[in-house]
Symmetry: C2
Subunit: 117 residues, 2 copies
DNA sequence: GGAAAGTACTTAGTATCGCTATGTACTGCC
DNA sequence: GGCAGTACATAGCGATACTAAGTACTTTCC
């Protein structure tokens, strides 16, 4: 049987909701022209955030599928030099628009939180 | 039947997870000595964030109950001049410690997100 | 040629939390 | 007596991140 997680442990999971989707959009946005595939995205996310926003595959791929379904990302396949076929994602016009808007909202939220302190 | 919410609408709900719990701790922390009751907290949260982090009662009270159950808040009752008995919440020692830690984590997350852009 | 490690993606099942909706109840004012 | 404002409680629902397990391709090394 598993120990009940502490409040802080649960919070650290909950706070990632929405944040991770945003982070994925942010990374894809960094690769506007070429796009980026899932496995590489996971590595970059992990490195760029020093593990703070690192994700397992079981978390990342469903996010990519959702964003694609919402037409925020386009996907194409690409041969890999060292493994199975990759799926390369790029932002759509909508994706870019939404990314900008979420950036703005997130900024406001953090401002308000700081004002609350 | 109800229209399927857009990606952004869902995101705006999801992003509040964890954030709201933190905001509640922050408000209670502002009233270290006297404490604050739920109804007043809701008003203050709404005002201080210009409605951005406003909550309905059905959202706020479960949060307060959770924080109490986790022993981050203590509660006492108090007579109101204009309504039923109030429940006044104050931070516990643990609550204060956790609040500080969450503040630090949130700061890191936001820093990383900015670095991602 | 086969095992192992690294690359790459998929999906089923679970828990949690914020939201909607609804209900209860007390006070003061007209 | 009814209404508005104050004050709290809770059941049911939907969305998402996590765990866990599986599939499959390439290169390296013995």
């Amino acid at each position: 049987m598993k120990k009940t997680p502490s409040f802080e442990d649960s919070w650290k999971v909950e706070i990632r909701r929405g944040i991770l989707q945003y982070a994925v959009l942010a990374i894809v946005s960094r690769h506007k022209e070429e796009g980026i595939h899932g496995y590489g995205l996971a590595r970059e996310l992990d490195e760029k955030t020093d593990g703070l926003l690192g994700v397992k595959e079981g978390t990342l791929y469903p996010i990519l599928h959702r964003l694609r379904k919402e037409r925020l990302l386009n996907v194409r396949t690409e041969k890999s030099e060292a493994g199975p076929v990759r799926k390369v994602y790029v932002l759509t016009g909508d994706g870019d628009r939404v990314y900008r808007e979420l950036t703005s909202i997130l900024g406001s939220i953090f401002d308000k939180l700081e004002a609350l302190r």
